[in-house]
Amino acid sequence: MGYGRSDSYRVATTQENKDVKEKPKAKGADLEELKKEVPLTEHKMSIEEVCQKHNTDIVQGLTNAKAAEFLIRDGPNALTPPPTTPEWVKFCRQLFGGFSVLLWIGAILCFLAYAIQAATEDEPAGDNLYLGIVLSAVVIITGCFSYFQEAKSSKIMESFKNMVPQQALVIREGEKLQINAEEVVAGDLVEVKGGDRIPADLRVVSAHGCKVDNSSLTGESEPQNRSPECTNDNPLETRNIAFFSTNCVEGTARGIVISTGDRTTMGRIATLASGLDTGKTPIAKEIEHFIHIITGVAVFLGISFFILSIVLGYSWLEAVIFLIGIIVANVPEGLLATVTVCLTLTAKRMAKKNCLVKNLEAVETLGSTSTICSDKTGTLTQNRMTVAHMWFDNQIHEADTTEDQSGASFDKSSETWVALARVAALCNRASFKANQESLPILKRDVAGDASESALLKCIELSCGGVKAMREKNKKVAEIPFNSTNKYQLSVHETEDENDNRYLLVMKGAPERILDRSTTIMVQGKEQPMDEELKEAFQNAYLELGGLGERVLGFCHALLPEDQFPKGFAFDCDDVNFPTENLCFLGLMSMIDPPRAAVPDAVGKCRSAGIKVIMVTGDHPITAKAIAKGVGIISEGNETVEDIAARLNIPVSQVNPRDAKACVIHGSDLKDLSQDQMDDLLKNHTEIVFARTSPQQKLIIVEGCQRLGAIVAVTGDGVNDSPALKKADIGVAMGISGSDVSKQAADMILLDDNFASIVTGVEEGRLIFDNLKKSIAYTLTSNIPEITPFLFFIIVNIPLPLGTITILCIDLGTDMVPAISLAYEIAESDIMKRQPRNPARDKLVNERLISIAYGQIGMIQALGGFFAYFVIMAENGFLPSRLVGIRLYWDDRSNNDLEDSYGQQWTYEQRKIVEFTCHTAFFVSIVVVQWADVIVCKTRRNSVFQQGMRNKILIFGLFEETALAAFLSYCPGMDVALRMYPLKPSWWFCAFPYSFLIFVYDEIRKLILRRHPGGWVEKETYY
């Protein structure tokens, strides 16, 4: 598998060639075509040519008729969701997946047996037909159940998708129309303004200060200008194309739609990403593994007893009936439904905690996650530039960056601060959008770029009344920021009515501002800028820059009244006023601060053994600062560069093994070989990848997976979607995430907060533990279900437990308690242990089987058999009489079978006793399962430590008992299910065994706790 090294996203995805080629040819050809360069030519055409090509008019736009025609031709302007499996295929998968095949075989054998009976006997017994129908019904019902559960969870996603209908402003027949973005067609003349999402791929025909944020497409976080001229041959680079689903940050633009829906650049990427093949989820693998075990046991037992019964001289028909019985007894019919319900419950619980799970199985994946590759912006940080530090009066002041303004404040009394704040407020084009007075300042929407908004909010917070201040200090001239000047200035009237001087305010790159200043304000007094102060400035600048913050310098000057009297015409193009010799005020630095909950969450991940890797497109310094801030690089850990700086030696002399942390630049990553990459991932515990391109994200994910890690990836952009798809679990952002990333992801964080992932991990681990318990509980009752058949065949006793009663246990009484175990609380701090090793820690392992089948199950079987022998004996058939009686017992024509006391029984009379035994055996299993469910509550702790606070479990205990009583006593059950009322005393037969299970397992767990790592733990801790 070769690794794409190009910067282009499209090449990165070609590594999936092999996967793609294995697919049917038509699809393969499609994807091949998608991988080619974007066939855009419109950016090189003149506007007239574009209009001609799309039959549109540059002023009038399309006619309504044409638009309708194009809409029919091209379809709606929306991404087609990834090819979904047809519903009937999904349904069939549920019908024939898992254990269903075994049960179908059982059902078919039943019908076959009935057919043989019908053909050979005059009056065939309906038992087999009945059982066959029941079995088919069971498969179909459980299949439907799983199907609907799955459909339900995918429906959550659909409703989510439709939450925000998009609007677009188009010009048709010369009139501006607000229409649904889906109805936009190629050739439409579209107008976008700051804040809008681009409705389709546009060829810009006119623009006013238009900037677009292409980050979701290219990963570039800086907004880029858009203008009508073609600046680059590459359509992705040229300025006159705006891409579908990117955002217009500011300004306005008008453009002609050149492609819509799937034909857009974004659409092509999305279609390609959806072609990526993803592996099975860890839990799916576990369940498959478990199904293999159970199926293996069932087939082995079934076949060997089939052969045995033939050898023992039973007829073919009887052997087939035994085979059916063994299959039914071996398959935990209700288990897969239980697992589905447990996962659904957890998914619901997670949705409440802002983790929306798209794919049910992904619920557990987070729990197994051993590496999280987290995006920085928006996930770890607030995605909002905030003023973090200020330098004035020769001192660094810290601003409050917390989301709820709970942090410390600084001294605001200094005059320098007043002047600085005034400059920051006046030399600032950002403004609050209207009608948000009721909102807290930080939540208000701002029109303007990120750093200006940060300044605006900072001033509004600390001084207030920016709007009033601006009104008082009327702006008379302005030079906007440009990249050659690297400053922005404006000239204002002063507040003081009597003062007719003009105030010149300037902000920009600190070194440029410093160059233009000759004085500096300290404690409100202007002082000449001396070397000492300059050095202090340099130090402060370096320090703030080293924190990864964006630093701005501020200065001002009062223009002398004699040269610039009131009404002076300031000319901004041909500057006719001084822009030098100003008074330096201070620095303000901004950063996108980490979210409050993130450091704690990262710490939790670390103690949970999860490696958190930061992957960002941002600069290494900023990335490192944030990584340090949130603990991804923990305190005291150094990178190679840090060590070099500390020891004052060149970087090359530092042993890379000494550094636990490392910050890797995307351009370095490009040159790494696969081995170097593995080495890097293996030997550093704290890694930050900065300046990474989308395909590098994919390489990082694959690198981690190569090392056996289960990788979670968070991301929000379209460029993240291949990594999201490739990851074992992709986590998209609910608020900032693009639709494509949400589509590629398995999980969506509704609040974009990294801390929610931790809850997800916790829930995932808990459900894995609880599923083990649930499965241990369910599997245990398999032994008392199988053994009756084995004894029936080997020692020829009347059948102690029938197939119908087995189904009553598996699908009736066992269900609620098994599900209730999903509500069990964690036994210990699950966030303090290492993630499970998928190669070693299986959902169902030999220890679980040993406990469930070999130990508890055996006790249960004895309990059931005891009840059976009690009923038989109390009705006249002592155990000694029973052995070997089967042939006479099941002989319909034998109607005077003698019991131990000399009484004679007709066939029907003794069958009633037999069915009463089935009922008693069934009830006994319920009784021993009481103890089993209590025992399964914990794997290590005592029940007395864990407590009985699980209300669902207590409900489950009562429910199964009530159900058992209902099945036994409800009139008509003797006909419907052949279950008969029990004498009260028979309910107590299994009590000693129930008690024994409880005592035995408590002792086992006591030894387990007393001797950690001992033999008991090695052999029985599942």
Binding site: M1, R706, M858, A873, Y901, Q903, Q904
Partner: protein
């Protein structure tokens, strides 16, 4: 793809072969365990199952202690006796001119009636007809006589072929033993053919009576010599009846014993088919 390629550690420990799953010569492991591990786990299971067996035996022993020797704890599952016939077949099909053909029936009846031989029955009590023979007080219960000779021509004494050779076979009807059963009224057996024209039958003892003196039954331990009362039914088939399958139903009538249970076709009644060929 990458996910499956990576099995950590594989290939590093030298060549692993699939046979290692069964026996790994390097670690001495047999199916994933070495000798001491196998020893321990087997010992554990031996002790564990030994204990379980002990526990099971203990509970069984306690349960058996609660049982009575002579009478089952409950007999509510056998409230009413079933009716069966001898020879033990529900399809009596034979060729009357071929002794080998019906020989099995004859032999069956012969063996069955051994216990009713007059010589054997002489040691039993001569009870009062029409009265229950209550003997609750006695430890060893006595049995009432039922002499084979009371079956007259169906006894096999005068006609060793029980009428089979002449095409008028004898069928013995008996009622199942149920401990403590005391039928009310005067039970008798009534056999009818399921066809339009009536079938003439002859009963022995006369009137097909099942005498009350044979009740109650006290169980085989204390009531060793007990023999069930029998009713012999001689089907008086005529020439016209030969080569035709006749379905005969016998019921216990004249008492409280159930003979019309929907599900149990043998409760107080029995249906069998007779086909005699010439």
């Amino acid at each position: 793809m990458t996910k499956e390629e990576q099995k950590p550690g594989e290939g590093k420990e030298g060549k692993t072969r699939w046979t290692d799953c069964i026996y790994n010569p390097r670690t001495g492991e047999f199916i994933g365990r070495n000798a001491s591990s196998w020893g321990l786990i087997l010992l554990f299971y031996l002790v564990f199952y030994g204990f379980l067996a002990g526990f099971f035996c203990l509970t069984m022993w306690v349960m058996l202690l609660t049982l009575e020797d002579h009478v089952p704890k409950y007999n509510d599952r056998v409230p009413s006796p079933g009716l069966v016939i001898r020879p033990k077949s529900l399809d009596i099909v034979y060729n009357r001119s071929d002794p080998a053909n019906y020989g099995q029936y004859i032999r069956h009846l012969d063996t069955f009636l051994q216990r009713y031989n007059d010589s054997e029955q002489a040691s039993n009590e001569l009870c009062l007809a029409g009265e229950f023979y209550d003997q609750d007080a006695e430890a060893q219960k006595k049995a009432c006589q039922f002499r084979r000779s009371t079956l007259r021509i169906c006894s096999g004494i005068s006609d060793p072929n029980y009428g089979y050779s002449e095409g008028k076979p004898c069928i013995l009807v008996k009622m199942n033993r149920i401990i403590g059963l005391k039928p009310q009224g005067e039970p008798y057996v009534n056999c009818t053919a399921k066809r339009d024209s009536p079938l003439s039958v002859q009963y022995f003892p006369a009137a097909a009576r099942i005498d009350k003196m044979y009740f109650p039954y006290y169980g085989k331990k204390v009531h060793e010599k007990y023999v069930q009362p029998l009713v012999a039914v001689k089907l008086l088939l005529t020439k016209e009846d030969y080569n035709k399958e006749i379905t005969v139903e016998c019921r216990v009538e004249g008492s409280n014993l159930r003979n019309n249970d929907e599900r149990d076709k043998f409760l107080g009644r029995v249906t069998f088919r007779v086909l005699v060929t010439q």
